[in-house]
């Protein structure tokens, strides 16, 4: 059920991408909502299987849902953005389906509300950063097509600020959890600690860019785009496992 509901979500996301290519706005909406609902089911079953503990290595399965939900409003503003969002959404979900790493069992330290907050805030933050990257990409494309009106740097900044807010909450929840569970400010067992710190510093810098004289307004979308790619690669890929064909395709 867990795997199948996620595969169904991935299929819906892919179909909604094709529907948007065919310029069928209503059909895209229906398929996207279907995908999000199937993804929500998958996420629910995953949590249920481990609750009250935090399920491990589930970020790739949660990210499409969170990214899809926060992007809906933006996606409906403009066709090209919608196309890009659905392409990324579809790509993320198919990658998660074929490179799962969700077979690890949680242990008792993971039975804490702080562990859940650390995870959920982290995913929300990453989803906002990813959205900021897509918006930045749209701005860069708009510049080439002169006269076109669309997204502005304010939209990118809004997404970055929300991402930064949630990433900070995630890091702090993780730090409190680390202290309560192990008595340590940082648990040095997980390399993701370095990428979380780097992402936090990177976006701290992004929020200071307007104060730095040698960074021009033109360079800011590139900065946001690079950040989104970096965050996706270094925070999301380590949660993925080896290539594995889903069972439904084998039998």
């Amino acid at each position: 059920m867990i795997q199948n509901s996620f595969l169904l979500a991935a299929l819906f996301y892919l179909l909604s991408f094709f529907a948007t290519l065919a310029n069928k706005k209503n059909l895209t909406a229906v398929l996207l909502v279907g995908g999000l609902l199937a993804n929500l089911c998958s996420v629910y079953f995953r949590c249920r299987q481990a609750w009250p503990m935090l399920p491990l290595y589930q970020a790739p399965f949660f990210l499409p849902l969170f990214f899809g939900v926060i992007s809906v409003k933006v996606a409906w503003k403009d066709h090209a953005t919608r196309k890009n969002i659905l392409l990324i959404l579809s790509g993320l979900s198919w990658l998660a389906a074929f490179f799962p790493n969700d077979h690890y069992l949680p242990f008792l330290h993971f039975k804490s509300i702080l562990a859940h907050l650390f995870f959920l805030f982290g995913i929300t933050g990453r989803a906002f950063f990813l959205l900021s990257g897509i918006l930045a990409w749209q701005i860069l494309k708009q510049r080439k097509e002169e006269g076109s009106e669309g997204f502005t740097l304010k939209d990118v900044r809004r997404s970055v600020i929300w991402g930064y807010f949630f990433l900070t909450l995630s890091i702090f929840s993780g730090a409190i959890w680390s202290y309560l569970g192990w008595g340590l400010p940082i648990v040095w067992d997980d390399p993701a600690i370095t990428t979380a710190m780097a992402a936090w510093l990177y976006y701290s810098l992004y929020l200071h860019l307007h104060l730095i004289s040698f960074t021009t307004v033109k360079s800011r979308p590139w900065f946001a785009l690079f950040g989104a790619v970096w965050v996706t690669v270094f925070s999301w890929l380590p949660d993925m496992g080896r290539f594995m064909v889903p069972i439904i395709f084998i039998y």
Partner: protein, 268 residues
Amino acid sequence: MKLINTIWEKLGSIQLTFYLITLMVVDLTTGFFFLKAHPHLFQPLNDTGFIKWATTYAKSNPYESAWLFILIFLMTILSVNTFACTTQRMILLVRHHGFADQKIRFILKLSPHIMHYAMLIMLLGYLVSYLTSQAWESNVLLPGKTVRLPGSSCQVRLTDLAIDYYQGKRLVHMQDRGIDVRAALCIQCEKGKEPVTGILGYNRPIGFRGYSLHLKDFAPKSKSGMAIRKYIQFTIRKDPGTGFYFTGMILFTIGLLLYLTNWLTARN
């Protein structure tokens, strides 16, 4: 005086912040690969202090651990830079606005500076923690037995150990296994005085006179199987940095919420 002013201005330069953070991101990315490839090298940092780790593990593996020393160096400069930069701006803000008019607006404008000072307090906490914290691993207690708190005359006694075993069907891997552990501890320092009691569990430490006790393991883990004596294994820590980094986190969160409020109200 002029020279001091120039140095103070240069130290607070936002351009310097840009270069420092860029270098730190590169360094942390490098650290990711080293941490992934050599987890055994960095795991002891959890148990030993930084200086002990630096003089043993890091000394024998300088190439693999260099990124951490570079990070500390960059972080030190960033702390000085942040302090100088935010203090310079705070002085300007106070001079130009004063406290009397538009109090709320003024407080909202302070938000980035609150976050900057909070970050410095957090970093100070981490520094104190890694330089001065002490850990005593693997203390085993059986019901009724005692362990002495290191460096004190206080005795920790396990008065009761309650383990709830999972009986449901939903968590397949937890069938008949302990899912909740509550170890009742009694800490007594002087005879005749009222002892301190507390319940120790996973993610539920006991704090006492600067010490903190953290549950590491317990037995019997399973209801079925071979009969094993009841015991708990716990870590004793003394970390003077804790207060600093938690204060910093609270302050940073307040600053961040004020920043969000300022940004949302300015937008509207």
